[in-house]
Amino acid sequence: MMLANLIFIPLLGAVVSYLAERTGVVSARSVALATTLLTAVLSVVALLEFLGGADMFPEQSRVWISDFGITFTLGADAMSLSLVLLTALLYLVAVLASWNIGGNRGRYFGLLLTMEAGLMGVFLALDLFLFYVFWEIVLIPAFFLINGWGGERRSYAAMKVLIYTHLGSLFMFIGIIMMYLKAGSFSFFDISDALAGADAGFKSMVFLLLFIGFAFKIPLVPFHTWLPDAYTEAPTPVTILLAGLLSKMGAYGLLRLGVSLLPETFQNYAYAVAVLALISVFYAAFTALAQRDIKRLVAFSSVSHMGFLVLGIASFDFIGISGAIFQMVSHGLIVALLFFLTGMLVEKVGSREIPRLGGLITRAPFLGWVLVFASLASLGLPGLSGFVAELSILLGLFSTYPFLAYITVLSLPLTAGYYLWMLQRSTFGATSELVEGARSDVRWFEALPVLVLVLLITLLGVYPAPLMEMIGTTSREIVALIGGI
């Protein structure tokens, strides 16, 4: 199979769904569903080929713009494939969550699918120019989706995302150009070879540029303030994609470019990166505690968990990095579930304000119990996927920076605190006036994504070994770069 299909099919689907709605032959949402289903099937095929032992790193490479050494090189390792599968899955969720979206559906699904093509491209590209192009392709539809289908303050939020992440991309782009000038090629492999002999000062410069770029995207405090506005204002399906996938671009980029291309440099800065990530963990947790809007609470919680992920990367330890990659998948699933639920809350109850939702579980038991489940998953309850990631990250971090690991552990009751406090006020207790009038009906296409996510979060939590072993192939190679196991 060609990995390129994973990019071109969503792109084709984007065009077709846009035209479909205009001509009225089929509905845009059906095209979108068919496209995402096909993409999901192809992702699974790619996974099976990988598990069957196919070497896909790189899978194909052809000259694109020869004058500048730009190639069309795609490839996948375990980390890419994990994210490709996550993308395929969360797109199914997002399409189902968009089923009754208002406005021009042709344009909406067109933008949504264009973004999928971009995401697949980011996770598969092994040419840095190509990587950058896909990176930008993701950003533009995100802007229009927030601006066109968002909440009250949508233009502010959309503009903020655009400027912020473009600023980030600029740093990253300069870094990429510097590497290109050194290697005379954009190919991941050529650059990797060229950087091996480069001097340390140059590499530090490049690393810092790349790191700032990714820190905007992940995001790490203090580069995060675009996130709460974007997550809160974006329509539910887009929030799912922003939190579940776009944040992973930053983490993926950090591992693929920052760590894999510049391992020793990264190692020099690892402690500083870890401290910054640790600040993110606590800062966002404290901020989450103060929120009254569930969606904002989850947004800050997401920043906190991404900080955890970066701690895993910074540990530069086999289990720690495996844990970070596992966290990409796990956090993607959990945060998608949480945002899906906040969307349903608004639809069924009419509010996301914690104090107005008291006693939710009495009137809407399905919604209430899944919210309990998702909160427990997010706070790292053992038996669910979030715990596996956190445990691995802590094991890794402890063997590298024990002191930081002790401090990190202190954040766990805080996370439990804001989630349980939220549940106590919003889900349990006496029913509020608003909740009394809530609709409790849940239709099958609303329940289906919820149940699939619940099942996956549980399966990965109960028996993580298969995914962990697959991820291990990538993290082993990364750690080998600095002479680890």
């Binding site: 903020k160 400027i163 912020y164 405090v221 203090p222 303030t225 800062y283 404290f286 901020t287 505690l289 103060a290 929120q291 289990i319 006693g359 579980i361 009495t362 427990l376 309850l381 053992p382 038996g383 715990f387 596996v388 445990l391 691995s392 802590l394 094991l395 402890f398 063997s399 024990p402 690991a405 002790y406 552990v409 202190l410 766990l412 009751p413 805080l414 439990a416 605190g417 349980l420 406090w421 549940l423 106590q424 889900t427 349990f428 207790g429 006496a430 029913t431 028996y463 993580p464 070994a465 962990m468 072993e469 291990g472």
Partner: protein
């Protein structure tokens, strides 16, 4: 059957899944399914225990849960695990049966039986786990079930609040346990307990002390030891069956079990901390139990106090005594809770001042409570006497000051439990008692069986219980701990203290020669201190509200006004600058020409001032 021990926790997992999916369509919300599968689990446990009694010990190879060797999860069954397996599966089974009567007619029973099944499964997994992470996972799931069951009546704000409190307070302990696990992994590269015990003697003592104290931190949270005991009395918001099962007989023993399980990792230094924490807990909780007026809270504080005794015993080297007390306590405390449940069921109140003279109306329950109380009071010949005596003996040879602490706590045990008995079951009939009647058979039969346990489990001491339990430890350590001669002074003192406690209390509450009211007035400051539970809850509330939440408010303000404000500020400045620059670009040629001339003049002036040639 010992090699099938892995299946013991699986039965309740199956009933959890069945009840979760189909319970709503079943009789009693799937209660009979729970009874059936927990029963199967008990049978398999008993068969396993039979093999252990015949000298068996079993450790399975397990599965690599995370794909690495250090986290290979298997099953370990030895004599220590056998004792705990018995407690959890046997008492658990009786309580599930009792629930059929107690929870009958409650609208949420399906959820109740699902959560109870999951609880018993996790607890059994915790008992037979051979890897610390496996243990930790079960440990947390047990905590989750406790959270859900305390908040079972979630419409009550007090229940929702108590559930959260229990989860968060125990979580403080849990992170210490987790930190201990991380430390052990970093130092030994494995988390398999048998392997850890082999490596431990060669390790740096300071590391071991730190690691074992961190593990003990987990036990302090779970087993409600000072200063993290505050969640347990509030946990009484749950159904009484839950209090009996989780907050008396099984879950709260998990902490004590953890210390016993990882005993070879403890150093003399860390054991001293364990002993003192246990002693302080035993005494403090006993003083509180004396002044409370809520039926369940008195028993809850008594539980805290007796958990303190067990911890104290382990710390003082009375390994077998501590485990023995764990076993005995499970019987008499479950019995006390279940008969208290029958009382609450009958009188619809938990305030003991509403009660009195219940004996005549509820003879079976009254007798059961009487047996439980007698056993707990430490008067011979029932179970509580034997284990308390062994504990006091080991503390006596460990540290005299601690012995004094433990002796006072033992005296107070006799005081509060006899006070409870006299006030509830004897004397004039209270208002709430008028319409009380005996509980149904499904509730009284478990009471009778537990009574038998509370009466006779103490005699196991003559059947070589100590030697049996010590088998679980490495042989050198076991030999070290085996020698504890019971001095006759201690035995005598222990009996005199218990009798004194009961006798004095009778003068207050049975034949009121003395007035409790008068004592309260005389010792008002002390009474006030006790009623406010030593102000510990106030301190924690202060920390949660003034420290954590205020920090959160400040950080949020910084985020909103400072960081985001700066971003918006930069945005505004840029926009304003753009606005200004835009005005310059008027599109009128004359304007551009003026700007050009202005610029040229300024350049000339600068050149002249700096002395350049013009």
């Amino acid at each position: 059957m010992i090699e099938y021990a892995w299946a013991i926790p699986l039965f309740p997992v199956i009933s959890f899944l069945i009840i979760l999916l189909f319970g709503s369509r079943m009789k009693e919300g799937g209660g009979y399914i729970a009874v059936g599968f927990v029963g199967l689990s008990m049978l398999l446990s008993l068969l396993t225990i039979r093999d252990v009694l015949a000298g068996g010990r079993y450790e399975s190879e397990g599965i690599a849960w995370l794909g690495i060797e250090a986290l290979r999860f298997g099953v370990l069954v030895d004599s220590l695990a056998a004792v705990m397996l018995f407690v959890v599966s046997f008492v658990g089974f009786l309580i599930v049966v009792y629930s059929l009567g107690y929870m009958h007619g409650d609208p949420g029973v399906q959820r109740y039986y699902a959560e109870i099944s999951l609880f018993i499964a996790s607890m059994l997994a915790l008992v037979i786990a051979n890897n610390l992470v496996f243990l930790f996972i079960s440990w947390e799931l047990v905590g989750l079930c406790s959270y859900l069951l305390i908040g079972y009546w979630y419409r009550k704000p007090s229940a929702a609040s108590a559930a959260k409190k229990a989860f968060l307070v125990t979580r403080v302990g849990d992170i210490m346990l987790l930190a201990g696990i991380l430390l052990l992994y970093a130092n030994f590269g494995t988390l398999n307990m048998s392997e850890l015990f082999e490596l431990a003697p060669a390790a740096v003592p300071a590391t071991l002390t730190l690691a074992s104290l961190l593990l003990f931190g987990g036990a302090v949270g779970k087993s409600a030891q000072f200063p993290l005991h505050v969640w347990l009395p509030d946990a009484m918001e749950g159904p009484t069956t839950v209090s009996a099962l989780i907050h008396a007989a099984t879950m709260v023993k998990a902490g004590v079990y953890l210390v016993a399980r990882t005993y070879p990792l403890f150093t003399p230094d860390s054991l001293m901390v364990v002993a003192w924490i246990g002693g302080i807990t035993a005494l403090l909780a006993a003083t509180l139990a004396v002044v409370m007026t809520d039926l369940k809270r008195i028993i809850a504080y008594s539980t805290v106090s007796h958990l303190g005794f067990m911890t104290l015993a382990l710390g003082a080297g009375g390994y077998a005594a501590g485990i023995f007390h764990l076993l005995n306590h499970s019987f008499f405390k479950a019995l006390l809770f279940l008969s208290a449940g029958a009382v609450i069921h009958a009188v619809h109140s938990q305030d003991i001042r509403d009660m009195g003279g219940l004996w005549r109306r509820m003879p079976i329950t009254g007798t059961a409570f009487f047996i439980g109380a007698w056993s707990l009071s430490g008067l011979p010949p029932w179970s509580g006497f034997w284990s308390k005596d062994e504990i006091l003996a080991s503390v006596y040879s460990y540290d005299k000051l601690l012995f004094a602490v433990a002796a006072i706590a033992a005296l107070l045990s006799a005081v509060y439990i006899s006070r409870l008995f006299f006030v509830v079951f004897t004397g004039r009939e209270g208002e709430a008692v008028k319409h009380a009647h005996e509980a149904p058979r499904v509730m009284t039969v478990p009471l009778i069986i537990l009574s038998a346990g509370a009466l006779f489990s103490g005699f196991l001491t003559f059947a070589g219980f100590s030697e049996f339990v010590l088998n679980a430890l490495p042989s050198e350590l076991a030999e070290q701990l085996a020698h504890h001669e019971s001095s006759s002074v201690v035995v005598l003192l222990s009996i005199v203290l218990a009798a004194l406690g009961v006798g004095v209390t009778a003068l207050f509450y049975y034949r009121p020669v003395l007035s409790a009211e008068q004592v309260r007035t005389t010792l008002r400051p002390l009474h006030s201190l006790l009623v406010h539970r030593y102000y510990l809850d106030h301190l924690y509330l202060f920390f949660a509200n003034r420290v954590v939440r205020d920090t959160s408010t400040v950080v949020n303000a910084i985020d909103t006004y400072f960081i985001d404000g700066a971003v918006n500020g930069i945005g505004r400045v840029t926009a304003r600058a753009g606005e200004l620059l835009r005005r310059i670009h008027t599109g009128i040629t004359q304007d551009y020409a003026s700007w050009l001339l202005l610029g040229a003049s300024i350049l000339l002036i600068i050149a002249r001032l700096t002395g350049g040639a013009a």
